[in-house]
Amino acid sequence: MATHEPRYRVPVPKYRPGDEPDFSHLKIPAAGQAKRPGVDVDGRDTIDLALGMVRVLDHNHQAVGEWNPEIKPDVLREGLRHMVLTRVYDERMLKLQRQGKMSFYMKSTGEEAVAVAGAMALKDSDMVFPSYRQQGILFARGRDIVDMMCHCISNSGDNLKGRQLPVHYTWAEGNFFSISGNLGTQFPQAVGWAMAARYKGEDQVTASWIGDGTTAEGDFHGALTLASTYHAAVILNVVNNQFAISTHQNMAIGDAPTFAMKGLGYGIASLRVDGNDFLAVYAAMQWAAERARKGHGPTYIEYFSYRADAHSTSDDPSGYRPKTEAKAWPLGDPIERLKNHLIGLGEWDDERHETLEKELNDLVVKSYKEAESHGTLHDGPLSPIPSIFEDVFEEQDWRLIRQRQDLGV
């Protein structure tokens, strides 16, 4: 065991396994405090929003302040449903992974509002370049659950022909780009897509998501430089869920006061948002989308959240952080908060919530049975083996034809 003082600063998380987490040092601005500027605000004038936090739901679960998007209860219930479905689906898929039904899985527990509210504030025709933790977008856009599962178990029904790891969805029909495992590559690509949309005269908005750790990648800087330079109709989102696998966000943030502040150096309108507050996420994305659609340029948003479960099925968070951290997290759980808000409005109750959970759980169980009717990873049927040589080029060249013969298929 090393006994000397470190000779340079190497950031470490405040709490390690066995510690009692206490987040009272975090300065969380009260709900309703943030001002909502016009969507044409000069990006450089958003410093208060980059340092503060857009929050709508207060500690009594009431919607307050200028950012309250005033969404109808029907829409709120729809959002709740998508979030619950995301969570139930994630839970089920984790169990199935543990049973060996799929090679890998990544949950989005605790971050459902970021994906679901973001997607609902956009139009379905808007383009998204997500990371691997925004599966909530697919539910919000109504993708068929059986199709999603067929992808995750790589069977004959997988629209990606078994070529991608589970969760790395592509759904062009739903304007959902191909998920990469290489972190942050989609961020500058989204800017290129947005430029092409304008080139073609479309009013489509493009949004992309990365995590806090990925802000250290060069592609982060590239994306913000491109977005700022070409004034692209793009929304660049950073989900600060506090962790990159085991690495705390303080390994990426440096001495910046917030991740949102990193956008201001590029002159981009930059917001910091309570990522566990459905209404705040919705309001911020709605604002950014309107800004982009009206030609006022890009927006960069940090969602302050907490990754309530493992990074993926390949890591055990109890090895690097206290088990009680998620419970101690001061911004709570996004589903609980929206549920309590709806109950406060008299538009929801515990019984209906339980019924909803049961209904969606049954739906997921039933969908999985149907997905397995298209094959399983271990017993097939999978996509035909010769398909591994397809889609490399538009047409197979002599090398691929020979190699297919070498494989004997």
């Binding site: 383009m127 370049f129 629209n159 990606l160 022909k161 070529r163 991608q164 790395h168 592509t170 759904w171 062009a172 780009f177 191909s178 990469s180 290489n182 590559t185 961020f187 500058p188 690509q189 989204a190 800017v191 290129g192 897509w193 947005a194 430029m195 092409a196 949309a197 080139y199 073609k200 060069g218 592609d219 800087h221 590239g222 994306a223 430089t225 491109l226 330079t229 889609d391 490399v392 080029f393 538009e394 060249d397 002599w398 090398r399």
Partner: protein, 338 residues
């Protein structure tokens, strides 16, 4: 037929492509108003507007990523990387994204992109303006790598690359932008005006992306070359007095195996060449495939003429560059062997 140097021929290809297809856009560092440091994109901004021919921030990864996003959304971007030595920041976007997108999306997204980049040495560019990094790219599934050796091919291959639906890395041998080069640095500068391949049609034509060309017929040994070394190989063949057949590969991936094996089976001997360092170069791939396909026709080992396994030196550039003497020595050796 008009005479063009390689710069004019490439510029003509871009002009025709942009005229023909409104979805073709061209961009890169200094590639807009100024027309690129080698002037390949000159006048395009004036003719087609700021949004079709434009400058970019100095970020090759972002240039590649922008091309990826645009191409996935229906455009046909032609991106310039100012020197092929500077393409490495873009490598993740090229390896992990551009060349896999068709595959990983099972055809839902395609990448009709051309990355153009001035390539190769012989211009006193030192180690940062002289590299031949093609082997890094021929190793990538889903990518076409094209290297012309003259103005006629440059125009036809670039038009074919732009019209092709796969991503293409298009390396331009900058030593030969203005004239062919026989590998003798002290000789008089040559001009494309006096070369048959400097005759370039004004209009649209394409040169196939998967065909090599026998540029000198011979019976005793096959000499494979691409880019700058095509002319060095030709000059060496002439001077050696050996009846060598010289093949200009033009496209490295996928290379034209038929033309190559037909020739090697005829001659029974083969020399493969590249300006890049020797180890794990593209010549090694050629040698491996040729011995697989032509082993029983070979009368001698396959020889390699290459750069050294060193960075490209500045002062001693011509000791690095595989010039005529190295080709002639190889020709003699391969004829003496066995």
């Amino acid at each position: 037929m008009p005479k063009m140097n390689m710069i004019q021929a490439l510029n003509s290809a871009l002009d025709i492509a942009m005229e023909k297809d409104p979805n073709v856009v061209s961009f890169g560092e200094d590639a807009g108003y100024f027309g690129g440091v080698f002037r390949v994109t000159a006048e395009l901004q004036k003719k087609y507007g700021l949004d079709r021919s434009f400058d970019t921030p100095i970020n090759e990864a972002a240039i590649a990523a922008m091309a990826i996003g645009m191409a996935a959304n229906g455009l046909r971007p032609v991106a310039e990387v100012q020197f092929s030595d500077y393409i490495f920041p873009a490598i993740d976007q090229i390896v992990s994204e551009m060349t896999r997108l068709r595959y990983r999306s099972a055809g839902q997204y395609t990448q009709p992109i051309v990355i153009r980049s001035p390539w190769g040495g012989g211009i006193r560019g030192g180690q940062t303006h002289s590299m031949s990094p093609e082997a890094f790219f021929t190793h990538i599934p889903g990518l076409r790598v094209v290297i012309p050796s003259n103005p006629y091919d440059a125009k036809g291959l670039l038009l074919a690359a732009i019209e092709n639906n796969d991503p293409v890395v298009f390396f331009e041998p900058k030593r030969m932008y203005n004239g062919p080069f026989d590998g003798k640095p002290d000789g008089a500068l040559q001009s494309w005006a006096n070369h048959p391949k400097g005759e370039v049609p004004e209009g649209h034509y394409t040169v196939p992306l998967d065909q090599a060309e026998v540029v000198r017929e011979g019976n005793d040994v096959t000499l494979l070359a691409y880019g700058t070394l095509v002319h060095v190989a030709l000059s060496a063949a002439e001077k050696s007095g050996i009846d060598a057949e010289v093949i200009d590969l033009k496209t490295l991936t996928p290379y034209d195996i038929e033309t190559i094996t037909k020739s090697v089976k005829k001659t029974g001997r083969c020399i493969v060449s590249q300006e890049a360092p020797r180890t794990s170069g593209f010549a090694a791939e050629l040698a491996a495939q040729i011995q697989e396909d032509c082993f029983y026709s070979l009368e001698a080992p396959i020889y390699r003429v290459t750069g050294w396994d060193t960075p490209y030196p500045h002062a001693h550039e011509w000791s690095y560059f595989p010039g005529q003497d190295r080709f002639i020595n190889a020709l003699k050796s391969v004829m003496e062997a066995a």
